[in-house]
């Protein structure tokens, strides 16, 4: 369970260009469910997602993860939580050019010090599960958009996170690949993972596998689950 209590996020506080991205947001996100945060551009979806994923801190309010208060944690503890609890899928695949698909996938697991042979086995298994095992030794710049996206998904899963966070994952995918992505999300759900997605793509928030849609507007939660 992820709980946000009265979360505010203000950028450039005290300056003429001060901008309040989130205003007093309180939200509970259930485990083993697919939750979509939707709303127009600038509504605070990505900001909320980055706070939930411990990538940024709120200006006020608290965030609890499985009952543990995490928004006050010193940075080195947040790194540990980010590494072990969350898997991130970004709008762009953000793969590192010059490295192979396999190396990109294994990269987030290096700080944990797992034996390389076991890690490689795990990475290959992940790549095969998304049908890109054959591309393991290919450089990432040679991949198509869909292959790059799937590589990013395998990378997000390499540390076996319990929560998958995806920020506008279908923004750069065509309809077929978007449906393919949602099939993968369904698999996450079946495996008992919690999935939080930001999207204003109807294909995502109208999908039958989505358990809850949270609508944001002007930094506030607007409506009830659809």
């Amino acid at each position: 369970m992820i709980e946000l209590a009265n979360v505010r996020k203000v950028f450039n506080a005290g300056n003429p260009n001060e901008f309040s991205a989130l205003n007093d947001v309180s939200l509970s996100i259930s485990e083993n469910r697919v939750t979509v945060l939707t709303g127009p551009s600038g509504s605070g979806k990505t900001t909320l997602l980055s706070i939930v994923g411990c990538m940024s801190r709120p200006s006020a309010g608290r965030v609890r993860l499985s009952g543990r208060e995490i928004s006050s944690l010193p940075e080195r503890f947040l790194t540990e939580i980010r590494r072990k609890t969350f898997g991130f899928i970004f709008q762009q695949p953000n793969l590192i050019k010059g490295l192979t698909v396999l190396e990109n996938v294994m990269l987030p697991a290096y700080p944990l010090g797992e034996k390389r042979s076991l890690l490689k086995e795990k990475a290959m298994k992940g790549l095969h599960s998304l049908n890109i095992g054959a591309k393991a030794s290919a450089k990432v710049e040679w991949l198509s958009g869909g292959e790059a996206q799937r590589t990013a998904i395998v990378r997000a899963l390499i540390n076996n996170p319990t929560i998958i966070i995806a920020d506008e994952p279908t923004a750069h995918l065509d309809t077929k690949l978007s449906y393919r992505f949602m099939e993968i999300v369904e698999r996450f759900k079946d495996e008992g993972k919690t999935v939080i997605i930001t999207s204003h793509d109807p294909l995502v928030y109208e999908s039958s596998m989505v358990d809850r849609v949270v609508i944001l507007r002007d930094g506030k939660i607007e409506g009830k689950p659809s």
């Binding site: 801190r57 006020a60 309010g61 006050s72 010193p74 503890f77």
Partner: protein
């Protein structure tokens, strides 16, 4: 004032350190007043972010503070040729009334800064800022001492006049005089002091070794560590210096930092001050062993501090013993 590079370095270092400590103490007072981890208020989150800045800043400032003691003594030693009558740092420190008070404050602040660094390190181990109020309370206590030290140091350096005739260490630490601390310590009988030194060191090393090996922690070692520090300082003046100089009447604790004696004084004082800071650091952490977020972490840290302290006292005692055994002085 004498415009010597080391004087400028001392004054510059102290001014920067004081400015930063005052800034940190102001924010430390805010943390003491408003800190409430249960609150999600904006002020609390600002304080949580601010404590990173303050503790990082202070880690460097107090690191500088530890070094400044040695820089100050080095400076006093370097200026010796400029004053009639001065033979070493002892004479230079006596050119006006602010030299020795500054040195005493430097020593006190060395110990306090060392303890703060130990507390800060322990606090950073916990996920819920377990010692935050304690460490900032200590900071608020330390800050006036740091300011006073800088004022006294400024008065000392700005009040230096080259036409002053000062006393040499032979007169300041003379066993034939009495009435001042240096001479009183120099007058202590050498052989009984030697027994007291070795008995204290043996007990300190045994208790420290026992605590480390058995994984036990108590106040016995920190207390003994403080006692060993005082006894060792008195012993340096009373008899250790005699063996290093190979002179039965020269008790100066400053000449041993000179090149003539291979700068051995710096090594001895570094070992001694390091040992007492780590030893007393153990005592500073003992009350917090049962805090939830530190319960699994503090015993290991206390063990490491005890080990380092014991090791430094052991090296100190070994070097002193070597100097005594291989000295040409026979008492």
């Amino acid at each position: 004032m004498i415009l010597h590079p080391t004087v400028i370095a001392n004054l510059l270092g102290s001014s920067v350190a004081t400015g930063m400590v005052v800034y940190a103490a102001y924010h430390g007072a805010q943390i003491l007043k408003h800190w409430n981890l249960q609150s999600g208020a904006e002020l609390q989150l600002v304080l949580e972010r601010k404590t990173y800045l303050i503790s990082t800043l202070l880690s460097y400032v107090f690191g500088l503070q530890l070094l400044s003691l040695f820089l100050f003594v080095f400076t006093a030693d370097s200026l010796t040729p400029l004053f009639v009558g001065a033979m070493c740092a002892a004479g230079t420190l006596n050119v006006n009334g602010f030299g020795y008070p500054t040195l005493v404050l430097k020593i006190v602040n060395f110990l306090l800064a060392g303890l703060w660094l130990v507390l800060n390190h322990a606090d950073n181990l916990g996920y819920d800022y377990p010692l935050i109020k304690k460490k900032y309370l200590l900071l608020v206590i330390i800050a006036p001492f740091i300011v006073l030290e800088t004022v006294l140091e400024g008065a000392y350096f700005f009040g230096m006049h080259a036409d002053v005739i000062t006393s040499c260490c032979g007169s300041l630490f003379s066993s034939e005089k009495s009435g001042d601390l240096g001479s009183d310590l120099a007058s202590l009988p050498s052989i009984p002091m030697m027994w007291a030194f070795y008995a204290t060191m043996a007990l300190t090393l045994l208790v420290g070794g026992y605590c480390y090996l058995k994984g036990k922690a108590g106040y016995a070692y920190p207390v003994l560590s403080g006692l060993a520090f005082l006894v060792a300082l008195a012993s340096v003046i009373s008899f250790i210096s005699l063996y290093i100089y190979e002179l039965p009447t020269h008790h100066c604790p400053f000449c041993i930092i000179m090149q003539d004696y291979s700068y051995i004084g710096y090594l001895l004082y570094l070992l001694l001050f390091g040992a007492v800071v780590f030893g007393m650091g153990v005592g500073a952490l003992l009350p917090f062993r049962e805090l939830e977020s530190l319960r699994g972490l503090l015993p290991a840290l206390i063990g490491r501090l005890t080990f380092v302290s014991v090791f430094l006292y052991f090296i100190f005692t070994s070097i002193v013993t070597y100097e005594i055994v291989f000295s040409n002085l026979i008492m």
